[in-house]
């Protein structure tokens, strides 16, 4: 029951931080330009890969989330925590991990070779989609799992007493939940994939896999053609807006669940066939996600303890940035967890980081020395970029809470603070913990807008990884990536665990 002015301020901040920079870049350029023929080709490829990536990520996430929702097994918590890992890896590290499995010299091709089978190539549209599914399937799984856990256990119990089969349970309880969760999950993944660049190019195999973001990069860094960059950035924003609107329209009203938040046994899913099916999905997804991660970890783990001092200092800077971003992001998200807020939040990830950075640089330069602001700006931008994910997690539950307790709160005349203290925080602990974990982990890994704001004395860990690679030190870079991965996962685990501490198994 956040008050209107707070939501208005939070929303204005998001709009200002996304539209402000584009406007600054466009204003500086003076004009906007039309798209060139090569841009149209890039637009087509961008749309196609984003649609495929989002559709497959969400489709595969459904059976995985269902298995996680209805099965208790040892290591379930660890698996759920590790599922967050691909999402937070620096792009280049993730690519090298995927290539260690699917590349020419990768595990898969060695196995095929051993059986005398022909080599498979990862390079092409399928490689791009594979990588995006690797990044986003875990996110989709967690979002959908939240939906499953939000279905009150009483309903499954009722279904059992009514003698519902697994199919009936799906039709009556699970399908409506999916119908309200999936469009939003699809939209957020579609929008992240819109601005993919390094992954699309490397695994796409060449210029056929050109995305809009590459054209923006070229316009800013090589041609200094700000008009072109601003125009392309507006196209990206427009696509995200359409995706967000469609998702809102499709997702309909909330669930209207009223229950006791307890995980209960699922009488409908006890059959051997369903058990095997769930086990199979979990095994497949664990294999797909954890093998590349394991290979990344194995390659760098030994080197972690001999990493030079500057890498550790950078790790401390990154931790500080991540914690700052997390606090900011959660404060920002609570008043915005509404339909309109979620749509607005998508703008943050839809805006090209390069245009965002350039615009912020133009705006801030008028007031302060941008170099002194590297870490604060990084923290704010990371919070902005995490916002859509956090809103996606919070909104369904915040709306359900409002629906369940709003009337009661109204009747008791609860003031906003009392509502927050006695109703919101205790009931929202699990999604808030998950949100904070995700935000912290994302902020550890993100390079954000550092290119124009680099602080000579305070580098972040991802920046040090790129610097090590740029100086031929590939092995040290691999070790630093393991450190980054461990810190990100650690933060994620602590926050997520804190949120689930009293939320049952």
């Amino acid at each position: 029951m956040a008050t209107r002015p707070v939501a208005l301020i939070a929303g204005t901040l998001v709009a200002g931080l996304t539209l402000g920079p584009v406007a600054a870049v466009a204003w500086r350029a003076g004009v906007l330009t039309g798209l060139e023929p090569a841009d149209w080709a890039a637009l087509r490829f961008t749309l196609m890969q984003a649609l495929l990536s989002a559709a497959l990520s969400v489709a595969f996430a459904i059976p995985v989330a269902r298995a996680l929702a209805r099965r208790a097994f040892p290591g379930r918590g660890v698996l759920i925590a590790l599922l967050g890992a691909p999402f937070i890896l620096p792009v280049i590290v993730a690519i090298l991990g995927l290539l260690a499995v699917f590349g020419r010299a990768g595990v898969l091709n060695r196995v095929l070779e051993a059986f005398g089978l022909p080599e498979v190539s990862i390079y092409g549209l399928h490689g791009v989609v594979l990588a995006h599914v690797f990044f986003n399937l875990p996110l989709a799984t967690r979002l959908i799992l939240q939906g499953w856990l939000a279905i009150p256990g009483e309903r499954f119990r009722l279904a059992a007493t009514l003698g519902f089969s697994s199919r009936d349970v799906f039709r009556v309880l699970e399908r409506p939940m999916l119908a309200s969760i999936l469009p939003g999950a699809f939209a957020v993944i579609f929008v992240i994939c819109l601005s993919s660049f390094a992954v699309a190019l490397t695994l796409g195999g060449g210029p056929r896999a050109t995305t809009l973001e590459l054209a923006i990069y070229q316009a800013v860094r090589f041609d200094f053609d700000l008009a072109h960059a601003a125009s392309l950035a507006l196209v990206q924003l427009g696509l995200a807006l359409v995706a967000g609107l469609v998702a809102l329209r499709l997702s309909g009203a909330g669930l209207g669940a009223e229950g006791l938040d307890r995980v209960v046994p699922r009488w409908d899913a006890g059959g051997v066939g369903l058990r095997l099916l769930d086990a199979l999905w979990l095994a497949l997804v664990a294999l797909f996600l954890l093998t590349p991660l394991g290979l990344v970890a194995a390659r760098g783990a030994l080197g972690v303890f001999s990493l030079p001092g500057p890498v550790w200092t950078a790790a401390a800077h990154s931790l500080a940035v991540a914690l700052g971003s997390t606090a900011l992001c959660i404060l920002w998200a609570i008043p915005l967890a509404t339909r309109r807020g979620e749509l607005l939040g998508l703008a943050g990830i839809a805006l090209s980081p390069l245009v965002l950075g350039t615009g912020l640089f133009l705006i801030l330069r008028a007031f302060v020395n941008p170099f002194s602001l590297a870490l604060p700006v990084t923290a704010v931008v990371n919070a902005l970029l995490s916002l859509p994910f956090v809103l996606r997690i919070l909104r369904p539950e915040a709306e359900a809470l409002q629906q369940d307790f709003g009337r009661l709160g109204g009747a008791l005349g609860l003031r906003p603070f009392a509502w927050l203290r006695w109703v919101y925080l205790p009931r929202m602990r699990r999604p808030l913990g998950f949100s904070a974990g995700l935000c912290a982990a994302l902020s550890m890994g993100d390079l954000g807008v550092i290119a124009l704001f680099a602080d000579p004395d305070r580098a972040t860990l991802p920046l040090q990884i790129y610097r090590l690679m740029g100086a031929y030190r590939m092995e040290q870079a691999a070790a630093a990536a393991v450190l980054l991965l461990a810190l990100s996962l650690g933060l994620f685990w602590i926050f997520d665990r804190g949120g689930r501490a009293n939320a049952g198994s």
């Binding site: 090298l96 390094a198 490397t202 210029p207 590459l214 133009l362 124009l452 580098a459 740029g470 100086a471």
Partner: protein
Amino acid sequence: MKKALTFAAGMMIASTAGAQAPVLTVYAPDYFTSEWGPGPSIEKGFEARCGCDLQYKPGDLLPRIMLEGDQTRADVVIGLNTDVTAKARESGLFGPHGQDLSPLTLPVEWTDATFLPFNYSQTAFVYDKTRVQNPPESFEALLSAPDDLKIVIQDPRSSISGLAMVLWVKAIYGDEAESVWAQLAPKILTVTKGWSESYGLFTDGEADMVLSYTTSPAYHIIAEGDDTKAAAIFPEGHYFMVELVGKIAATQQPELADQFMEYVLSAEFQRMIATGNWSLPAALPRSEWPEGFDTLPLPEKTLFFDEAEAATVQKEAVEEWRRALSR
């Protein structure tokens, strides 16, 4: 808010200006200023002779100076490449470097009065001797090499070395460039955003050859004691890649800036380049290069389009590359 910030900024300036040494602000690429780049030792060397404080501001060079225009905080900009010098020159922000160019030891003639070279290298395909037994001995041989020789390259639209590569092919093959790219296409495993990604793919064993520099093997020889990496040297010639330094015309520190430009061509600076930046010093005879560099195989012929020539062929060369590889 603005007032408070101005006040705070004023306090900071007041507190640092006191009795301290004058500051020379140098914009440099991020890699240059990192602990593993040449920046720190250059800073130390220069501060020892100037009685000043050299401060690097790392980041993208061209976008930043263009955005700042005549408000720029830079006194000197180091690390510019020839692909952006035309735009940088047009901006009118840079003044003459004022240095005598006779000490230069570049393989090409250099007469630019604005941008001063400090190191160079040439584009080359680097391979691992243990994996490629019969490396191509010429560009022609590379074109007719079997298609299972997999190469990883950088995108000329996002990478300076990638751009040098399309100019390299253009310089050798001229109007035939597009068909040359079509011949190379089946051998190109993939294209990456920048050099680091490509080189990572190569050292991970994913690709047999990588588009890099003639000087890359020196890193492995000197820093790792590993002599299995080599650059394939082609008689058709290799494309020249140079890094430049320029002085901001309106600098508040003209004497210090001039002193720095002078330092760039000094033997002390030039001796730091080879193992500091893994490239070749712009003004140091080969006999004075460090061990490992003096024996490095280097091309006989160096190809180069100057700024004006490059401007006329660049767009077409990139487009030919894109068309040939998009089929």
